[in-house]
C-alpha cells in the first residue's frame, strides 16, 4: 500500500473576474487526502469550500479561472489533464454529492434511470437492463424501501432524505475513489441528518472510498472525519487530525470558531461571536487574512502572509504564532 495521498492539492489559486472586481476565491489552498480517509473541509459560508470542490472536478466556469497550483489525483495533475480525460474521471473516479438534493436531480427523468445513467456513461459495454438492475441494487444499499418500485418514481415524489439517498446512490454506484460531499446534510431535518451520515459512513467503509467532507457544522465534522482542514477566506489556516484540531486548536481562527459552539453545560452564557467581519474577497491578500480580527495579531501578521507551519506530526497551522513559539 502506497503512502502516497490519494489527493494532493498544492497552492491552489482561483480567481473570478466579475463586473464588480476580481474575487480572490481561493488564495493559497494546500491539503492532502489519504486513501480510505475522510478529510473534513470546514469553514464559514464563503470561505471557498465549494470552489475548492469544483476546482478538483475542473468545473470552474468563466469568469472563474484556476490561476495557479496543482491538483494531484493518484499521481496525475488534474489541472493539466485534457477535458476528455476529466470527463472520464468525473462520475467514475471522483464524484460529488450536493447540498440540496431535491433540486439537484432532474425532475423529468425517473430516479432509477438517472442512477443507471452514471454506470452507462462510464461502462460502454454495459447493457441497459443490467445497469437498471444495478441501480435497483444500489437503491437497496442506500436504504430505500421497495427499491424496484421506487426506481420508477420521479424526484418530486420523494422526501428530502430519500432524495439525498438517491443522490448518494447516483454518485457511489460506480464505486469512485474519491467522494466529495458538499454540505450533504445542511438542507435536511436534524433527525434525517443523522441517518444520512450513518449511511454515508457505512457505505464509505464498504466501498473503501475516500471522502472530502465539506461542512460548516463542527458536529458533523467531529462525527465523520478522520482529519480536518479549516478554511478561512480562501486559505487553509489549520490542518490536522480531528482530535488535534478540535481538542488543541492552534490557529486563532479555529480557536474562536470552537468558542462559538454553544456550551450546553452553561446555557445562560451569552453566545460568543468573533468580532469583526469576514474580509471582502475583492481585496488582494498581502498579509494574514485573519489578522484584523485576531487577538494575538503581531506586527508581522499585518505585513507578511504566513505559510503553513508544522506543530507536530500531521498538525499544521498558518500562523506566525507557531514560528514565534519555536523561538
Amino acid at each position: 500500500m502506497t503512502s502516497e495521498p490519494l489527493l494532493k492539492v498544492e497552492d491552489l489559486r482561483v480567481r473570478f473576474y466579475t463586473l464588480r472586481g476580481v474575487v480572490h476565491a481561493l488564495e493559497q489552498v494546500s491539503f492532502h487526502l489519504n486513501r480510505q480517509e475522510t478529510l473534513g473541509l470546514a469553514g464559514e459560508t464563503g470561505c471557498g469550500k465549494s470552489v475548492t470542490a469544483r476546482a478538483i472536478l475542473r468545473l470552474i466556469d468563466p469568469p472563474g479561472r484556476i490561476e495557479r497550483g496543482a491538483i494531484h489525483f493518484e499521481g496525475r495533475n488534474l489541472l493539466k489533464a485534457r477535458e476528455a480525460e476529466m470527463r472520464r474521471i468525473r462520475g467514475s473516479q471522483i464524484s460529488m454529492i450536493m447540498q440540496e438534493p431535491k433540486v439537484s436531480i432532474n425532475p423529468v427523468i425517473r430516479v432509477g434511470k438517472q442512477i443507471a445513467e452514471t454506470l452507462l456513461i462510464h461502462d460502454k459495454s454495459l447493457n441497459r437492463r443490467s445497469a437498471r438492475r444495478q441501480a435497483v441494487d444500489m437503491l437497496a444499499q442506500v436504504g430505500i424501501p421497495d427499491p424496484g418500485k421506487m426506481s420508477r418514481r420521479y424526484p418530486h415524489e420523494l422526501s428530502g432524505g430519500m432524495s439525498q439517498r438517491v443522490m448518494i446512490a447516483m454518485m457511489l454506484v460506480t464505486r469512485p475513489k474519491l467522494l466529495i460531499a458538499d454540505e450533504p446534510t445542511s438542507a435536511l431535518d436534524v433527525t434525517i441528518q443523522a441517518q444520512i451520515l450513518e449511511l454515508m459512513k457505512s457505505l464509505v467503509r464498504e466501498i473503501k472510498t475516500s471522502v472530502l467532507m465539506i461542512t460548516h457544522d463542527l458536529g458533523v465534522m467531529a462525527e465523520t472525519c478522520d482529519r480536518v482542514a479549516v478554511m478561512y477566506a480562501g486559505n487553509v489556516v489549520e490542518m490536522g487530525s480531528v482530535r488535534d484540531v478540535l481538542k488543541t486548536p492552534k490557529h486563532p481562527y479555529t480557536q474562536s470558531l470552537l468558542q462559538t459552539v454553544p456550551d450546553n453545560a452553561n446555557p445562560d452564557q451569552p453566545l460568543f461571536s468573533i468580532k469583526g467581519n469576514v474580509p471582502s474577497l475583492l481585496e488582494p491578500q498581502t498579509n494574514c487574512v485573519f489578522a484584523p480580527r485576531c487577538e494575538y495579531a503581531m506586527n508581522r501578521c499585518v505585513r507578511e502572509k504566513p505559510g503553513s507551519y508544522a506543530i507536530n506530526d500531521g498538525h499544521q497551522a498558518a500562523c506566525f504564532l507557531m514560528v514565534e513559539k519555536e523561538k
Binding site: I89, G91, S104, I105, V108, I109, I121, H122, M171
Partner: protein
Amino acid sequence: MVQYLARRLVTLTITLIGIMVITFFIALVVPLDPLAAIAGPQAPQETVERLRKLYGFDQPVYVQFGRYLYRLAHGDLGTSFQTGRPVLEDILHFFPATLELATLALAIAILVGIPLGVLSAVYRNSPLDHFSRVLSLVGVSMPVFWLGLVLMLIFYFKLGWLPEPGRLDIMLIDPPRVTGMLLIDAVIAGDGEVFWDGIRHMILPATVLGLFGLAGIARIVRSSMLDVLSQEYIKTARIKGLNEFLVLTRHALRNALVPTVTIIGLTYGGLLEGSVLTETIFSWPGLGRYLAQAFLTLDLNAVVGGTMLVALTFSLVNLAVDLLYAFLNPKITYTE
C-alpha cells in the same frame, strides 16, 4: 391519465356545442341578403320569396336552428353557393392541400426553431444569439400577407429561383388522387417530376406560413433553456461525466420542451389563421382560400361549415397538446 382525458372530452363536447351555436348565430346575423345575391339584382321580389321558402329562411329562428342541428347530425353541411357542391365535399376536397402545407410549415417551424433557440441559449449574447433574437422579433411582428408578397416579389418575379404561385406547374398533370396530398399521391404514382415540382411550389408558402411559428418557438425555447441551464441538476449531470451534447439534449432540452409544447398549440392556431391569408396570396387550392372566398361572398353554408371545421381542428389540436404536456411533465397529477 384516463380520467383527465375523459374530463377533457366532456369539456370538448360542450365547447363543440357552443361552437355550433356561435357559427349558426354568425350566419344568422348576416344583414345582407345572400338570396338576393343568388337570384341576381334583377330578380323580382317573388323569386326571392320563393328562394327564401325553399331554403327555409322564412321559418322562425329555433326551427332553423333545429333543422341545422338535424342536418349536422347527418353530416349535411348544406350546399356551397359558390361552387354549387355540398360543403362537406368541398371541405374534404380542399382540406388535404392545406394539411400538406401546414404540416410542412410546422415542420419548418419546429426543426429550425428549436435548434435556433437552443443555440441561442447556449451561446448567449453571441452574434448568433442576436441574429436569432432579431429574427424572432421580426417574425412575430410581420404581417403574413406582406411577407408572402415580398418574398414572391423577390424570389419569383425578380430572381426567378422559385416557381409561380399555385401548387403545380400548369404544364404538369396532377397524379391520380389517393389522399389528396400532392406529394404523397405523387410518390404513390411514382411520378418523380410532379413530386419535385410540388416541393418547389411549396417552399415559399410553407416558409411564409411557418415563419411566425418559428419565431415564437425559438423565443420560448431560448428563454426556457436559459432557465433550465441555470438549474442544479444540470451541474449534477456534468459531475457524472456526461458529455456536453448529452447534457444539453437529454437533460436540459427535455426540461425546456415542457413549456415549449404549449406554444405548439398556439402556433397551430397561427397556422390556421395564416393559411387563410397565405393561400390567398399564393393561389393555393386549400381550405384557407376556400374559406376566405366564402367569407367574401357570404357563402353562408361554406362559412358555417368551414368555420366549424377550423374550430374543431383547433380544439382537437389543443387537446392533443394538453395531453402531450401532461405526458412530458410528470409533476402534473391529472387533477386540475
